[in-house]
Subunit: 147 residues, 2 copies
DNA sequence: ATAGTCAGTCCATAAACTAAACGCACTTAA
DNA sequence: TTAAGTGCGTTTAGTTTATGGACTGACTAT
């Protein structure tokens, strides 16, 4: 199967992965959440090849996840910043980080975390149900086709 | 940069992506959450090439995310099932699906969703803070190096 | 003038992926 | 007792994608 065929799947995870599911895209977006905006900064941070970086940034802009914002003229140079659609990935990033911290071998205590500004605590994120507010665990969910 | 260098990064997102960050791994895991266990079923479902499937399954087993459970002898055949570490990815999957459903172009209403068995509602997942129980949004989190 | 910055592009090589055929150890049906 | 089927792979050959490094172009600062 061609990867590009996934974008029209009726599974939302498949659709998400058709955009995010390669080796670098999520790393670039992670940098965006950490405040990195510029081509050279992404390249230096990630050690990604410039060709791929160009390609991935273009895709993210095309998908409406990043927007280009000019920060100088002569020559025109752009920042790449998260759109609303990009910021909506925050939950994915937090859960991915939490899994990486707790499940991947290593020293969890030396790793970067987040502070929840509104309550002041170091953040331990979990997924909750909008209807009942309870934590959602794997055994309590069943796939359904929405009405 | 070599992709393999990421696994020792001090960013938990980078570590997570060193395992999950390729074109097929998360799709295979999605299938696991939907109850797919066998080689032929993954292959038929995803249309992935058999070589890659073999490789990805081996990696996931090695990383302790899937475990092989024999379901017959002569010849020995294995199911691939989620370990605790694999099930811990549930939150990532739910948030990825929610983003795919709401942010990626398409008809959200025709897509697969989940039901939250404990309250009976169709699930709309969000990320909450374990300390205060409130929803966590992008602007309220700041990266910190854990003490 | 000389060097430096930033965002790319170009190119040759290397790695990853693909599809389709094949192998092996069985089981079931004719 | 062959013949076909099942399940999980491996092999091969061809295609696609990624990589690293040099290079370009439009500037700015010294």
């Amino acid at each position: 199967m061609r990867w590009s065929e996934l974008e029209s799947a009726d599974c939302p995870i498949a659709r998400a992965l058709s955009i995010l599911g390669d080796r670098w895209t999520l790393m670039i977006l992670r940098d965006c959440f950490f405040g990195v905006h510029r081509f050279e900064a992404f390249q230096a941070n990630l050690g990604i090849s410039r060709t791929i970086l160009r390609d991935r940034l273009a895709h993210l802009v095309q998908a409406g996840i990043l927007v280009q914002r000019p920060y100088q003229d002569r020559p025109v140079r752009y920042d790449y910043v998260l759109s609303a659609k990009g910021k909506a990935l925050n939950g994915v990033m937090l859960m991915l980080g939490e899994w990486g911290r707790t499940a991947v071998d290593g020293q969890p205590e030396t790793q970067i975390r987040h502070r929840h500004q509104t309550c002041g605590h170091v953040l331990t994120p979990y997924v909750a149900c909008a209807a009942c507010g309870e934590e959602v665990v794997a055994k309590d969910v069943r796939a359904v086709r929405a009405a």
